[in-house]
């Protein structure tokens, strides 16, 4: 066998080994979580509040809490993010200032989420006096999601061929009409994909809601924006660090992890399906 063929086989097998290691980690991780957590999942687990100091019962309030935190934060972040992206893409001047804004946004995207938690506590909980509440948590998560949504949206707008913009303007449309009727509809699927990915991220975050929204233990569901809420990721943290009955709490934590993981994975799956359909339609 020639030396070139040897190198070829060495290279291929090295990559094969890397792939195996990576997937082994992933499989071990999934196996560990699901084998430990799946057993505890039942209709009661999903529909009951925690009982007896988190040693029994279910996680229903945490599911509801995570649902509302996620929905509200995306409802806040999506319009702000998309409009910011439109401004940056189509109107922003001068160019150097927009570059600075983009750098700021990218920096924001890279900040550890615990810092968002501190920011949310300082601004929403203390300064604006929302206290620890659903709305304070949702706003904090919205600030976290915004850079992701802005980047995804601007990227989506930039990927719309300039031909479309020229065609629209050449037909006598104004800049505003061009954005509303051509640019946004064409970019929308990619904006949606970006948004769905950030939904997954927001749903799984613990640190930003730790000081702003989450409570260890709540029997009732949130009734208003100013209520504290339970949340799935924070519930796992609580189960593992609080209370004295590890033997009952740890399986519940794994069960909660299964629910959270399934939630985030199914959200990502939706994103992948949407992206697949868009790519199939795209012919320009």
């Amino acid at each position: 066998m020639s030396w070139r063929k040897v190198k070829h086989h060495l290279g291929i097998n090295a990559m094969r080994a890397c792939l195996l290691v990576t997937s082994a980690f992933l499989l071990m991780f999934l196996w560990r979580i699901f084998s430990r957590g799946l057993g505890i999942i039942s209709w009661e687990f999903l529909s009951q509040p925690p009982l007896k100091g988190m040693t029994a019962g279910g996680i229903y309030p945490a599911i509801v809490g995570t649902f509302w935190l996620t929905v509200l934060s995306i409802l806040i972040a999506l319009p702000l993010g998309v409009l910011t992206a439109i401004f940056l893409h189509s109107y922003g001047k001068p160019a150097w200032l927009m570059r600075m804004v983009r750098i700021a946004i990218n920096t924001l995207a890279g900040i550890p989420s615990i810092v968002y938690g501190l920011f949310g506590m300082a601004v929403f909980v203390n300064l604006l006096q929302f206290d620890v509440s659903l709305i304070a948590g949702a706003l904090t998560l919205a600030v976290l999601a915004m850079p992701m949504i802005i980047n995804a949206s601007e990227e989506a707008l930039r990927s719309v061929p300039t031909d479309f913009r020229e065609a629209s303007l050449a037909l006598g449309a104004t800049e505003r009409q061009t954005i509303l009727r051509v640019l946004l509809p064409t970019a929308l699927p990619n904006i949606m994909t970006g948004t769905i990915i950030s939904i997954g991220r927001v749903a799984g975050e613990t640190a930003p809601i730790m000081f702003t929204a989450a409570t260890f233990y709540s029997l009732k569901l949130p009734r208003s924006l100013s209520d504290e809420v339970m949340a799935l990721p924070y519930h796992i943290y609580a189960l593992m660090t609080e209370g004295a009955h590890a033997e009952q709490q740890v399986p519940i934590a794994y069960g909660t992890a299964v629910v959270l993981l399934s939630l985030v994975l199914s959200i990502s799956a939706v994103a992948i399906i949407i992206r697949y359909h868009i790519r199939k339609q795209r012919k320009w």
């Binding site: 065609a167 629209s168 050449a170 037909l171 449309a173 339609q281 012919k283």
Partner: protein
């Protein structure tokens, strides 16, 4: 009686420090086809794009001199750019229908003007598709995506889209350079038909095409309008050496 439709006086244009058009004086007759030819980078596309102010989209563009459309200075500070663009249609090099239905593509220019009723729009869409010789091919699938059409059909759709606004002038920027010979022939024939209604300006790299369809030739070189005249005359007795050299293929 021929009428002057488009007219430039001492037109100069800069992109930043790049002086692209030099003192262009040109008169375009109504309902004729004028072909603009010249080597790449000579400014013919830029000149075409001054007639519907598409160069405005490029940052740092400076224009001096006058461009008159039916006697109206379209670079006047108070000129309404969107109205000018609805009077001067444009078809681009690469067919660029919107990712919308066939119907909505043609209706677009009418819808954005916001002054037509739904019935009006339907009538005009049908009329424009017929005028662009596309109606019979698409009348049963007006609500299919325009992206499902062939390249030649897409380009005729773009022509229909431009016609829907009932323009006085249509600017064609190398409209057939991305098409196969059959589609090209169809578009050329279509141009000859359309000149009964509208004034046509066409930029082309294809000298034979200019010869086949145009009434007038404008030859541009390095940002100057070198020669302008009736197509037969320019092709048989070019007055400028550079025109002759270009037409005979010495450079290009």
């Amino acid at each position: 009686m021929v009428k002057r439709q488009l007219h430039t006086e001492q037109l100069n244009l800069w992109f930043g420090n790049n002086h692209v058009l030099h003192d262009v004086n040109l008169s375009i007759e109504q309902k004729k086809i004028t072909a603009m030819i010249g080597p790449s980078g000579c400014g013919k596309s830029t000149l075409l794009r001054t007639f519907n102010r598409m160069n405005d989209l490029i940052a740092d563009t400076k224009v001096t001199g006058k461009v008159l459309l039916d006697g109206e200075d379209i670079y006047h500070p108070k000129a309404d750019v969107t109205r000018i663009r609805s009077k001067v249609g444009m078809v681009f090099q690469k067919p660029n229908p919107f990712p919308k239905s066939i119907f909505n593509n043609v209706a677009y220019g009418l819808v954005v003007q916001g002054k037509y009723s739904r019935m009006d729009i339907q009538d005009r869409v049908e009329k424009s598709l017929k005028a662009a010789w596309l109606w019979d091919e698409v009348k049963h699938r007006l609500h299919d995506s325009a992206m499902s059409l062939s390249g030649g059909q897409q380009q005729r759709l773009c022509i229909a889209r431009a016609l829907a606004n009932d323009p006085e002038v249509i600017l064609l920027d190398e409209p057939t350079s991305a098409l196969d010979p059959q589609s090209t022939a169809k578009i050329e024939e279509l141009c000859l038909e359309l000149k009964n209604e509208v004034t046509i300006l066409i930029v082309t790299h294809n000298i034979a095409q200019a010869g086949r369809i145009s009434d007038y030739i404008a030859f541009m070189y390095l940002g100057e309008l070198v020669e302008f005249g009736e197509t037969n005359r320019v092709f048989t007795v070019p007055q400028d050496k550079r025109t002759e050299a270009y037409l005979t293929g010495v450079f290009g």
